[in-house]
Every structure is written in structure tokens, then in C-alpha cells.
Symmetry: C2
DNA sequence: AAACTTCTTGTCATCGATAACATTCTGCTC
DNA sequence: GAGCAGAATGTTATCGATGACAAGAAGTTT
């Protein structure tokens, strides 16, 4: 910075002011300084700035299972949104229920003096670890909480699934969910169950898996035909794929004997046999919204409108009207 | 730090020395300082340290399509390995051929004064952008380059696929690859082609897609039965799924009419119909190895052994002996 | 016990930016 | 053109760690 100042014939302070966008600089001076900056390809030293101001433009993202379908997209949306506002996002992935890794992540966020933290906490246990941590920066523990009381994408999506099955005339319906300890899993379940009942249907069977196709396959193994289930909502496409696979192996037809609707719309869904009817939630939007809320808090400006991430029902061939 | 020093009755320098692991500190002093650190829950200020030393413990990872199957696992392996050595990894995702985003990523790495950079450059165009950038920190442009002349996972995997098909008696073989501009795509192709030929087979047809199931489906549409192809190696499972889907739609049987082997072993592969024979490459190991090489360069200690990431052939039911 | 080596600890300046305060310069009024 | 408000710029001290050097303490040798 001093080199720039010397070259432009001004003091370092003037350079500093220009950099952070101070208005009151005479045009002539401004030009000289800008020329000097360009000339020397000067780049401010973040460390020095951080040391002095204690304000960074970095956000820490604690991401549970960051490479899973939903979280990955949410993170992408979040990172892009943050970047648009001049913040960078430091993603720390945590797999499984590794409390130590979480503690470590927070420690590193603290040391890096992030301006805020977004924790993509999918499970209760993880959420507990995060919540009992005293912190001096804004934090968003669950992106869904930033929706201002609106519906989460899990809820909107589950509602779409329920509506779709009811419209097709299904009344005896099953639900294959994720693990109980997972928030999205519970949200999808309660919304779906409520809507099915409100629409005059009943939940005849429930199973739960661990989001993997293998667990969907296992659920398909305990599927009981004598219960006369005509449709099943599976909480993600991966399990739906395993579920359908086992149903076929056991001689059932989808959607002939039972309709199946998934959740996520993974790229492969359209190329299953039968092509999978599913819900395509806008995870990226949820990430964007969460970061928007976090930045509002960091910069103390009021939240704008509460946007709501949407979702889309993708009707393919794994669901059909009830006979 | 000064508070700690005062509390322990020593100078700040002594505290500093203790922190960075300096040996020559009398046990009594050491104890007092450690007690003071614990007492005050003291955490060194990274910014100050970075300002003074210009050495950070952070690695920048420029990740192209970071949420794709391979890159995601590679990054996970890299991040874990880095963490084991006390480094944190700052992942910046770049999607598509966004040169601007790459430039921006490097800029931010520079500003953060990362100790090294690992660029997961999958495409040639991206690689060119990265390579023409002058840099003053160690960088690994392509993880595969750290293998010390050994085979990449793409090559080992392709070799396994070729071997498998040849062993089953196939001689008239097709190849469905990724985009030409992608390095892994070319590696898989050239290795596969070479091995097939060396084994007495011939490549009767070639198609290429963009890694998506949709593109696999399109390739399946132009599959020409008159060429008497009995087996096809598809460069990733997603395309394989689309490919098989279309073959079925056109009335061909897999593996009855044509065997198909994929690459990646995505979770869904086992639950396809038929369950997909595929190659399971160890992407995480590749990430670990790359970081190992990078750290060696950063810390100027000699590279250890060149480990080689392995792969595994997963034989399921989409391949069969030639009739 | 003096002289000397080695080990431990302390002092001071510095990294690059900025907050707070001080000063100089402009443009205006009368 | 003197006086003055307000704008533009400069000075100084500081954030928290550490490198280089200095000094004091402990141990060794003769």
C-alpha cells in the first residue's frame, strides 16, 4: 500500500480510503491512485485488514453430508449468493455424527474470524452440538428457519406428493421415510401424513431407511401386499429406486400394483424403469435465501421479503390412477 | 497473547515459542504458560500470524463441478488428508467453463495467501486458464499428475473394464465416452481402446455424451444393431443408465443382446435392472495422494512413496459371456 | 572460583491496513 | 483579501504475532 501511495504521491491513508469506497476524494487524486494501483497490480492484504478491523468477508459453512444431493445443491446456491455480495464461503464438511469434527470446524471458524456461520444441520444430534455452542457471530443453524414461518421445501414437496397421489384416486397409502433423527425426514413425513388424511386417505404402512438405495431395497422386502396399499411416497429418489427394484423382484408391478413417487429428481430418475414420478425441490434457492438472511444479520440491514424456495412435481410413469 | 504472558509471568515471546512447538522451554515455565492459556481460553490470532509470517495453513481448492460424483469424492479425500496435517481447505466451486470464476477464485486464493493450490481441472479449457496463471505458491493442476508416472484411476478402471469384457469373450466392442475436452474421458478411452485391441478385440463403435443419463439415452438411440456389437463400456454409470434405458425401449436385452459395463459404482448401480456391472474407482485416495504431494512441496520435505489409488471391478448382471 | 559455553528468556521492530485525530487546502462570503 | 466552514488529505498509534538480536541464568571446565 505504501508503494502505491508513494507512486501516486499521496499518503497511505488516502489509498486506504479509496479502496474501501470512501467518496470524498478529489477526482484528480482518485485517478492518480487508481493508476498507481493498476500499475503495481496492488492487492490489499486481507490479513492486515482483518487484524485491524476484525471484520472478515468470509462465511463459514458447516455442512453435514455435503455431497448428498440436497445439501450439495443448497451449498452451491449459498456459495453463489454469498459470492454475489462479496463474501467467500469456507465449506467444512462433516460426515456422520462426528461431534469432534463439528467442534473442530467451529474452532477453525473462530480462528479465521468468519463474519457469520451457516450450519446445514440435518440431524437432531448435530443440531444439538451446534446449538450448545456460544458464539459471537451471527449463525443460521437451519436454512429452513430463515423462511419466516413459510413452508420448507420438504413440506411443499411432501404436499405435492400427497396431492398427486390423492388426485390419482389413491386412498390406502404407504410412506417410506429417512431416519427419524433427520429433520427433513420428519418434515416430509408429517406434512405428507397430514395432507393424506385431510384428503380422505389413510396411511396404511410406514417404513424408514437411511436414504440409500440399499435401504429402499430392504423396505421393499418387507412390503406387505395384503395391506392393499396402492401408492407409496418415498422420501428420496435413491430409496425409491431400491424400493421399486425389490418390488419388481418380488413380482409386483409399478405402477400397476402400486404407484411410487420419489423426492429430489436426481438425474437418473427419468431413466428408470418405469421413469420415476418425483418432486423436484429447489435446494439452491433455499441456500440463497439462507445466505440472504445471514448477510442481512451480519450487515445489520433489514431482511427483505421472505422468498420461498419452490418445488415442482415431475410426473412420469411410476404413478398411475388407482384401478 | 500478552494477557497470557502477563498471567504466566513471562514475555509474549515465550508464549509464542511455546505455541509453535519450540522445545527449549524449562518445564516449570511451560506449565505456567500452558495453565494461563487454558485459563484464558487463548486462541492465537491467525490474521496476525499470517501478517507476520506470510505462511498460512490453508489450501485453496479450485474444483470444477465439485458436486459431481468423482470430484466430490476426490475433494473429500483431499480435505480430510489436509486436515490431518493441520491444514484447512478452502473449496471454491466453478461450474461450467466460467473463466471469470476461475480468475476470481485465484484472486481470492492470492488474497487469502493460501499455502498451496490444488486445481481439480477436468477439462482442457479449464486447465489452460489455470496454467497460464503465474503463481508464487505450489500448485497441483491435476491430481492425476501426482501419481509419479503411475496409472490414474481412470486408466486402471478402464483397464479393468477391458479385461472383464475380453474375459467374457467379447470381441466386437463399443465405447460410450464423456466429452472430448475432458481429461478423464480421454484417459478412459485411450486405455480402454488400447487394451481391447491388445486383447484381440476391436472397437466397432464409439459415441460420446456429456456424462448425463440423458446423453446416455441419446447414445442408445443411435446404437446400431447391425454392427454386431456384443459389449459396451460406458465411461460413467449415469450415462450407462440412460443408455440401457434406451436399449430396452428399443427392444434389446442387456446383457442378452449386449453387455454393458459402467464406471463409478454410484449407489443406485446395484439396483438397476439389470444390476449394473461397473468399476469402483477410489477417488478419495486420489485426493489424498494429491494433497500429500502438495504438502510435501509446501513444506519442502521429500515426497514419500507414490501410492496409487486403486479401483475395484464390481461384477453384477449387466455383463455376460458372449453367446 | 573465574571463565566460558550453552540454554532460556526478554526486548524491539515489523508485517499491512485502518481508526482517530490533526492538518492543510478550497471555495465562498462579506 | 481576510475570515471561515467544510472538504480533502496527512500523521500517529494500533491490531497480535514473530524474527532477529540481546541479555540473563545455568551448567562445565580448569
Amino acid at each position: 500500500m505504501h508503494d502505491v501511495a508513494r507512486l501516486a504521491g499521496v499518503s497511505a491513508q488516502t489509498v486506504s480510503r479509496l479502496i474501501k469506497g470512501f467518496e470524498g476524494i478529489r477526482p484528480g487524486t482518485r485517478e492518480r491512485v487508481e493508476a498507481a494501483i493498476a500499475e503495481l497490480d496492488y492487492r490489499p492484504n486481507q490479513a492486515a485488514r482483518l487484524l485491524r478491523t476484525r471484520k472478515s468477508k468470509r462465511i463459514g459453512a458447516l455442512a453435514h453430508e455435503m455431497f448428498e444431493f440436497g445439501p450439495a445443491r443448497l451449498l452451491r446456491g449459498a456459495a453463489n449468493e454469498a459470492r454475489r455480495s462479496g463474501y467467500s464461503v469456507n465449506i467444512v464438511g462433516v460426515d456422520g455424527d462426528d461431534e469432534l469434527a463439528i467442534e473442530e470446524a467451529f474452532r477453525s471458524f473462530e480462528e479465521e474470524q468468519v463474519a457469520g456461520i451457516i450450519a446445514v444441520t440435518l440431524t437432531d444430534s448435530m443440531r444439538r452440538v451446534v446449538e450448545r455452542r456460544p458464539l459471537d457471530v451471527p449463525i443460521i443453524v437451519d436454512p429452513a428457519e430463515t423462511l419466516g414461518g413459510g413452508q420448507t421445501i420438504s413440506q411443499t414437496g411432501a404436499a405435492m406428493a400427497a396431492d398427486h397421489l390423492l388426485q390419482l384416486g389413491h386412498r390406502r397409502i404407504g410412506y417410506l421415510g429417512g431416519p427419524d433423527g433427520w429433520l427433513p425426514s420428519r418434515e416430509r413425513r408429517s406434512q405428507f401424513l397430514a395432507d393424506v388424511r385431510a384428503g380422505g386417505g389413510q396411511i396404511v404402512a410406514e417404513w424408514s431407511g437411511d436414504w440409500t438405495p440399499a435401504s429402499g431395497d430392504r423396505a421393499g422386502g418387507v412390503f406387505d401386499p395384503s395391506a392393499n396399499i396402492t401408492a407409496v411416497f418415498v422420501a428420496n429418489d435413491a430409496m425409491a429406486i431400491g424400493f421399486i427394484h425389490r418390488l419388481f423382484a418380488r413380482g409386483f408391478d409399478v405402477p400397476g400394483d402400486v404407484s411410487v413417487i420419489g423426492f429430489d429428481d436426481i438425474a437418473e430418475a427419468a431413466y428408470m424403469n418405469p421413469p420415476l414420478t418425483t418432486v423436484r425441490p429447489d435446494f439452491e434457492a433455499e441456500g440463497r435465501i439462507a445466505i440472504g438472511a445471514l448477510l442481512a444479520e451480519i450487515e445489520h440491514h433489514p431482511r427483505g421479503d421472505f422468498a420461498h424456495p419452490g418445488g415442482e412435481l415431475i410426473v412420469r410413469s411410476s404413478t398411475a390412477s388407482v384401478r
